[in-house]
Subunit: 527 residues, 2 copies
């Protein structure tokens, strides 16, 4: 009896510790003061990151890009806070909450990715990007998952159930666009390579999160492996559903701004308020429907840039472009600081060094399977003068650093999976993120120079083989069809459908959704 009481009392203490500070009853203002200190520290780190990033860029220090600098600042401050005995109420303001990340930090970053997408190189490489992002990420996830599972079976590393291996494979396949791309921009590389890396890294986040969620629901319902096709179908449902809801919201916004007549002088504020609410609306609509908000907001961004944007007044256009740029760069920098801080604060189970070592090896192999495999498929269908050169494939393979998305999903896996498993995955992911951000981020410049892909667009030895200006929809289909293989024909059909999409856009969508008549898009759609 006594034991029971002691146990219960222990339980009470544990629960009381779990209760978030809002629910307890501290002296008035005290709680807010702690929050103030926490947020103050975060703002100071943000300012420091911006200033440091600026100084580094100005002095052309490419081996420490802004994202790495932010991560390091977070790590250092987190380490200091860990050594000193910071009040736990301040500490709660620093923990990485996946919810906060998914609901408030991620949407602006992804929207900005879609919104800032240069339509021409993106669409002229659309087939390749989709192949890398969908087929490639799927391949990488499965390869990683299977290798980790086999590693577990052969006692090379910590043993996880197969579904959990696939979850790990999915979450670790999400590459981060931020750091590599800023360096690409700085160096000025081939536009097609840039479009490939950018498009792939944005879309594969969406793919990885969908895969992870699908696997997580399989895991929690314990119907693992029961029906592989059901899993694929559920995934496709999510993906297509999210895509359509995103595109739908984008189209609605285009029509609203076309007909509401808000583009007059004194309504600029109203116009901008409504414009900035739409992306978030799209994200939350998809989440509320149980779909993927990130896929949805990405496509909303693309549609809004392409159609809605041109219906705005000129002042509002300038404003919203600067607004989304500002918000997303704040969110991005904050994510890296936050991540660094949390990595320094969280408890890690470093006992499984083997797991970390082998998973790094496996993701390198899996990314190779993704990039070189998909590049082979793409090259099968592309005419000789549009092949993806091996140098670009290597650059793409190298630029797969893991960032906030992998981290956030790993943190979620700590909640989703049984005790030790989630912790192991989390620690491994953390190590991979820190290593890849610092190493790959720091060496991308060197890599680009070594591969001789530096320099603007189409000059240099690669110029003639990879000319963006001739457009993707090259008039060379008939000769290709003779090669006969069925796969090749399928791929070409898909290829053609992107061409006809461009025509559809020019002839119907642009005139319908914008106040333009499609002529201004001529340049973009020319064959």
């Amino acid at each position: 009896m006594m034991e029971e009481i002691v146990k219960l009392q222990h339980h009470v203490v544990m629960l009381q510790q779990q209760i978030s500070p809002e629910n307890s009853n501290p002296p008035p203002g005290k709680e807010q003061q702690a929050a103030g200190v926490g947020i103050l520290l975060q703002i100071m780190m943000l300012v420091l990151s911006f200033v440091l990033g600026h100084v580094l860029r100005r002095h052309k220090v490419y081996y420490l890009p802004e994202a790495s600098a932010s991560l390091l600042i977070g790590l250092i401050v987190g380490g200091l806070a860990n050594i000193s005995n910071t009040e736990s109420s301040i500490r709660t303001w620093f923990n990485f909450h996946e919810e906060f990340f998914f609901l408030f930090l991620l949407p602006p970053i992804i929207f900005q990715s879609g919104f800032s997408l240069a339509p021409k190189p993106f669409f002229s490489n659309f087939g390749a990007i989709v192949t890398f992002a969908i087929v490639g990420t799927f391949t990488a996830s499965v390869v990683t998952g299977v290798l980790v599972y086999l590693g577990g079976l052969t006692f090379l590393m910590y043993r996880l159930p197969f579904v959990e291996c696939l979850m790990f494979g999915a979450l670790i396949s999400a590459t981060d666009p931020v750091t590599v791309l800023s360096i690409f921009q700085e160096f000025g590389t081939d536009m097609n390579l840039y479009a490939l890396v950018f498009g792939e890294s944005v879309l594969n986040d969406a793919m990885a999160i969908s895969l992870y969620r699908t696997m997580a629901s399989v895991q929690s319902h314990d119907s693992s492996g029961k029906n592989f096709f059901m899993v694929v179908i559920r995934f496709l449902e999510t993906f297509v559903g999210s895509l359509s809801s995103g595109v739908g919201v984008g189209f609605i916004s285009a029509l609203l701004f076309k007909y509401a007549g808000l583009d007059v002088e004194n309504l600029q504020n109203l116009e901008c308020c409504l414009f900035v609410l739409f992306p978030y609306f799209s994200y939350m609509l998809a989440e509320g429907l149980g779909l993927s908000g990130i896929v949805s907001i990405l496509f909303t961004g693309m549609v809004m840039k392409h159609y809605t944007f041109s219906n705005l007044s000129e002042n509002s256009q300038r404003f919203v472009a600067a607004f989304f740029h500002l918000i997303s760069s704040l969110a991005e920098t904050f994510v890296f600081i936050y991540m660094g801080f949390d990595i320094a604060m969280e408890k890690h189970s470093w006992s499984h060094v083997g797991f970390i070592f082998f998973s790094i090896l496996f993701i390198v192999i899996a990314r190779a399977a993704n990039v070189f495999g998909c590049a082979y498929l793409v090259n099968l269908v592309r005419p000789a003068n549009r092949q993806i050169p091996v140098k670009h494939q290597k650059a793409l393979w190298y630029s797969g650093l893991r960032g906030a998305m992998a981290f956030a999903l790993a943190l979620q896996s700590v909640h989703d999976l049984p005790e030790g498993h989630g912790q192991t995955i989390f620690t491994a992911t953390t190590a991979i993120v820190v290593l890849t951000v610092l190493l790959i981020g720091g060496s991308t410049g060197t890599m680009l120079e070594a591969l001789q892909v530096v320099g603007d667009a189409n000059d240099g030895p690669l110029g003639e083989s990879f000319d963006g200006n001739t457009g993707y929809i090259a008039p060379s289909y008939d000769e290709g069809t003779s090669s006969g293989s069925r796969l090749k024909m399928r791929l070409k059909e898909f290829h053609k459908s992107t061409a006809s999409f461009t025509a559809l856009d020019r002839n119907y969508l642009t005139p319908f959704f914008t106040t333009q008549n499609g002529d201004v898009e001529e340049e973009f759609g020319k064959t």
Copy 2:
């Protein structure tokens, strides 16, 4: 023994219920889906409010201003959600969290107030505004508190301890600037009246929150009435400390932007990022120091507009002005929706109708004491041609509607005070907020017309007696000093100090903190 176990088990259940949803373990994605639905609803209400507000303005329906419309939308949707059985996980996304209000919604609103302050009419009425805001709010708080206490003693209403009465007095003395001012702008009223109403309502929020916090700390330490002077001194410490930290941060930002050389073409994003972080920094610095963030950010806003703003590049100036306008109008609209929703959802103790009735009566009296009393003081010192006319006093008295600040403080009092007391105060405040927003907000236009203070600035019967362009620093002090009363002399000294401030600003501050040499400020500072 058995009883003890049962008690403990009960405790465990209670604690488990208190644990916020993040800590429990719902199926993956489920929690996020609920959040998605909650936020989605909020965005839809926001869009609805903006559209409705626009339509109402266009059709010149002044008896339902935007804030009232937002409040009504919140009330209606909240009522519907209350009737239908909404999932509690969605519901948690709607509760009015004072922390969220104070940390994320209030700062942009108050900063924008300071930032958009037209310096000329504000500074030329500075003495009057400060008198109304500080002396007046203090008077109103004490009068309300004492009357409520006396009401309790004479069994007219629910009886509260004296300190709690003063807390109620403080929180209910915070008037809301939003609604009335938008109507003032719409009608176009005398600039001096506008400056008085605006300045008073912004500064008195800061005053009320400082008073409330001071009283709350007195209440929690149970040292009530022990030392009245200590209370006053603590209040002054808070107020002066917050003011200095706000002004200090503003000056630092001005120097940073003056010397950092960020006003070149391609650094606009960095410039804007840093600029938007400063106000928040100021707010959190003050909160972290245990001071009042709202006072601090208000003055940061004023300083940043006056000095820092002119150091920005032209594009960034346009951008940040639009940015703060956008953010604050989103926050404002959201606050009214949120408040309406929460009022409909919370449990209220309607048993104390008497308390509500008499407190409405008392705040009307207290506001009269504030406005007419302070106007008397101000008129004592002003030359005959600058007296505040009785019509303006009446308009000022009438425009004291209570809004989000009172509501948030009342909600906090539920945590700060013993069970029934906080609940009574909260219900009364809620009723007062809804009544004043709907009634005063709806009738301000009629009131302005009835008092014949409609029409731009200095024409009409009031023109000659109240001319803003002659400036506040009128050359008529010497003749006034002969009247002799000591109070009057004190007031005049204060009066003169504002005049010398203008000179200080023109000759030293503006040249030091901005790239201008002070000449452009000539117009503003002219006597």
